[in-house]
Symmetry: C2
Subunit: 341 residues, 2 copies
DNA sequence: AGAAGTAGCCAAAGCGCTTTGAGGAATGGA
DNA sequence: TCCATTCCTCAAAGCGCTTTGGCTACTTCT
């Protein structure tokens, strides 16, 4: 079933049917409803290739599949992707992906752009001074960055959360509760968000004349095993910290296990704040001791990014190029006054 | 730059240029070279949408993104995808993906097929009696399954390795070396390959009048942490096993660590065979004690699958619908004669 | 020399959609 | 009553490619 057949069936011209379908104003209400009804009944679906040829819009967003081991699509990436997918589905968009050799992400991106299969690009897992940025800027194709790249001129469109402020605030809260010795379970240090979060912690500490003890800092993949492992290690240190910051609730899951195993009371002997990406399967409020968190939904970020990208493609809308989302500091039971020394 | 311009530039018709580019025989050698040269110089790339409209072939393979936590794209999936991608790149194909709600994989697949954006579908992480199979069969679109689905009629095209034979052989080798107590570190039990591997082990044991002790079997995600954890647990059992089978070298990595920590000698006190997917970053021969393995390259499987799918799309080639690859049993130092009791 | 291929090329007809430019019918105002 | 508007609809021209069917010129065979 194609447009021609459909329009013949309805006794209308292809033009009118097309307009009715695409929401143009100059179609009689009745006519439009008649068309929509017929579409429903026949199950007509416009041919994508033809639409694409006629409009020049591919209806798809390019994605380079992260295949490197460190950030190998984990639960955080899935959550984000779900958001992207949700929004994309609404607009009948889809994603085209190229799996990239970790050493040739730039090349993969370039090929994807040149393939003519996508009309926008998206990148994430930003690193400090990320080489992909330069390339993207030379392309004449809309793109959007999730995160930022510290060390690069911030003259590109991005959506990021304010990682620094987020961890600054969390640290400050703990300082006000009397904590003086801190640990930080962070993501891989080459990633932008990890750098900024560490900066946030250090900035807050500096205001109180304190500094992070590097032995109490870890940079690992964000899995619960790593959280367990690193927390165990840190708890065995001579003067163990009384406050812990985690870059993810997944890390916190392991950390809390280590804390329990050490027979320490969360929120009393030791306080913990985790960053909460609002993962579907790990809610900070359902920990035995509900976690204090800095919250920002990864899925919402996915939705917003799809929205911006699709808007740009469809209507040449220009969104505010740079968005920095504040996180929410939500105090629950895992934080308490520092124990007497 | 489009075909029209290019052909005018060359003083040829669009037909001839098109034929030259697509490898048709009725073009003079000289002419073809002239065309190819011009393409190189101008950087001409045929418009995908137009090609697609004209041929009805989209040049893309549909993929439903596994977002469920258990099989959340790990290092194995990456390796496989790299193979797929490699081959796809060669043919200028790409992948279209839909992230799926784990509870609605069937629906996601259906939508992808209906979207008109792909001309073949691919599925993996097969489970026992997988519900996706029924759906795929109703679609009039080529598809290919990586793995199989135990409990379903094997009347669908697949590429799989002979997991059962593989683990049967490995077990038999260990039996012949005198081992009588076995452990199995396996992948999630709902996955087809895990079921078959366990069956293989049990079949071999049964021939010797033995059975698997369920306490010595684990079904977990295939990470080294899980390997460590489970192996530690198993080593503490009363009559600990002298032989271990691992579903992945990643699991083996953890298991070996546990073995070392228990001060046991690999290949003497305890023997271990792992399945080797030929992962780029984890080679069984570079373990301190090189591992005996059953080998089958995941990347090669990816390449073959892309090859079959693309061949089917391009030329309506029909490949042997079902391929079952034998694995290679490679004996290294991690297996030895069973220790005296 | 004439018949019968064969090699190499071309014009034109789609593929299924969007969009431009135009026109008929109904409405309202003078 | 006539003209200007507004509303709705249409025919036809692309979008850039592939593919069919035909044409010319050159070989080859008898």
């Amino acid at each position: 079933m194609n447009l021609k057949q459909l329009s013949q069936m309805l006794g209308l011209s292809q033009t009118t049917v097309s307009r009715a379908l695409n929401g143009y104003p100059e179609v009689n209400r009745e006519t439009r409803e008649r068309v929509l009804k017929a579409v429903r009944e026949t199950g007509y679906r416009p041919n994508k290739a033809a639409q694409r040829l006629a409009t020049g819009k591919a209806g798809s967003i390019g994605l380079v599949m992260p295949t490197s081991p460190g950030n190998s699509s984990d639960v955080h990436f899935s959550e984000f992707l779900t958001g992207l997918g949700e929004e994309a589905l609404r607009h009948d968009f889809h994603f085209v992906l190229t799996p990239a050799d970790p050493n040739d992400e730039v090349g993969a991106l370039k090929r994807l752009a040149a393939s003519g299969n996508v009309d926008a690009l998206f990148v994430n897992y930003m690193r400090g001074h990320d080489p992909r940025l330069e390339m993207l800027k030379t392309l004449s194709m809309p793109f959007l960055v999730h995160g930022r790249s510290i060390g690069s001129e911030p003259d590109y469109p991005f959506l990021d959360i304010d990682n620094e402020a987020s961890f600054y605030d969390a640290t400050k809260l703990l300082l006000q509760l009397g904590h003086r010795r801190f640990a930080l379970l962070n993501g891989p240090i080459y990633l932008d968000f990890a750098i900024r979060r560490k900066n946030g912690v250090e900035a807050a500490l500096a205001e109180w004349g304190l500094a992070l003890n590097e032995a109490c800092v870890s940079h690992t993949a964000m899995t619960d095993e790593q959280g367990l492992f690193e927390m165990e290690r840190i708890l065995q240190l001579e003067k163990r910290p009384t406050a812990v910051l985690c870059s993810s609730t997944v890390l916190a899951l392991g950390a809390v296990r280590a804390i329990n195993q050490a027979k320490l009371k969360l929120g009393e002997d030791i306080s913990l704040i985790a960053h909460d990406d609002v993962l579907t399967l790990l809610k900070p409020e359902s920990f035995t001791v509900p976690l204090t968190t800095t919250r920002s939904s990864l899925r919402a970020a996915g939705i917003r990014i799809a929205e911006r990208l699709i808007g740009e493609i469809k209507h040449n809308e220009t969104f505010p190029a740079q968005e920095l989302w504040k996180t929410e500091l939500i105090v629950r039971a895992s934080t308490g006054v520092a124990p007497a020394d």
